[in-house]
Point group: C2
Chain length 176, copies 2
């Protein structure tokens, strides 16, 4: 069965976003490092992307305003706003639980939980994530938005792999 | 010059202690795993241990009540309590900054920052830590005491090594 995969980068102190929206810290030790990270290989394993509205809004207004960042995949955006679906983008009021049950009943590649923290923690709370792929950026960010908000159940993990490139470490876990 | 080294274990979600004091999660995937972790090699690189009073109290009352856990090393315990020093244990009201400046002016092996979170964050805030050696335990703990409290300056790190054993990952960083 297709898996739900959290693939996200965090600072060593557990933040996925700086308070001021700064994304310059999301690099390895050498900003121009030529080593290919895990993204190209990962992206070939998924065909569906799930995200919250805040993440969606940041992508289309700041990170990649000129071109939809996840072309060729089906994206679902959780929101209570009444928005018109676009090509490859569905706005949904379903809960992550209901949407995931439906998607996992369908054929397909894996499902990428892309962020942000609110959606991730809703899924951790309900133990809906099969694999955790976390890229640890070599920086103490000091403050910002935390990946894990600290009101979750205990979940035992199994380390599948750990790979380093340009000072970043990809930690990949399944559940025990 | 001798370095100050934070050597500590945290859950994947960034906790160093469970709310109820439970330490059973501080293992790899196989509780009886025979692989030697990084502790034996690390302990040979240090001769001085720094900790807060809460950590000290937990060691002598719960974790290792029958025998002082860090025999053969000089331990400094930060506290405002008026306590009598013991063999190899000094209780001090000095700030981490003042004590570290004095210790780093002396000959010796490296200095281990052992915990807890309050002392660690005082040191991160003042950028007093040379190396960060963090063992990531394969578990989402869900709640507890965080390693990094989130009111620190930004500190760029350099990944020195990443090693795995029994599902645990030792991430070792210096400063960039």
């Amino acid at each position: 069965m297709r898996k739900t995969v959290l693939y996200i980068a965090e600072s060593l102190d557990g933040f996925i976003a700086a308070p001021n929206g700064d994304v310059s810290w999301l690099t390895g030790e050498y900003p121009d490092g030529l080593e290919e990270g895990s993204y190209p290989a990962f992206i070939r394993t998924v065909d569906t992307v799930l995200m919250g509205y805040t993440t969606y809004h940041q992508i289309v207004t700041e990170l990649s305003p000129d071109k939809w960042a996840y072309e060729g995949m089906q994206t679902y955006v959780f929101t209570h706003k009444d928005l018109l679906d676009k090509k490859e983008i569905t706005f949904t009021e379903e809960t992550p639980e209901v949407l995931l049950e439906r998607l996992k009943g369908q054929e397909g590649k894996d499902i990428w939980i892309c962020g942000g923290a609110d959606i991730v923690n809703q899924m951790v709370q309900r133990d809906l994530i099969d694999d955790y792929r976390i890229t640890v950026i070599p920086v103490i960010l000091g403050s910002g938005i935390r990946l894990f908000d600290g009101e979750n159940p205990k979940i035992k993990l199994r380390l599948i792999s750990a790979k380093c490139y340009n000072g970043m470490t990809d930690l990949v876990y399944g559940r025990r």
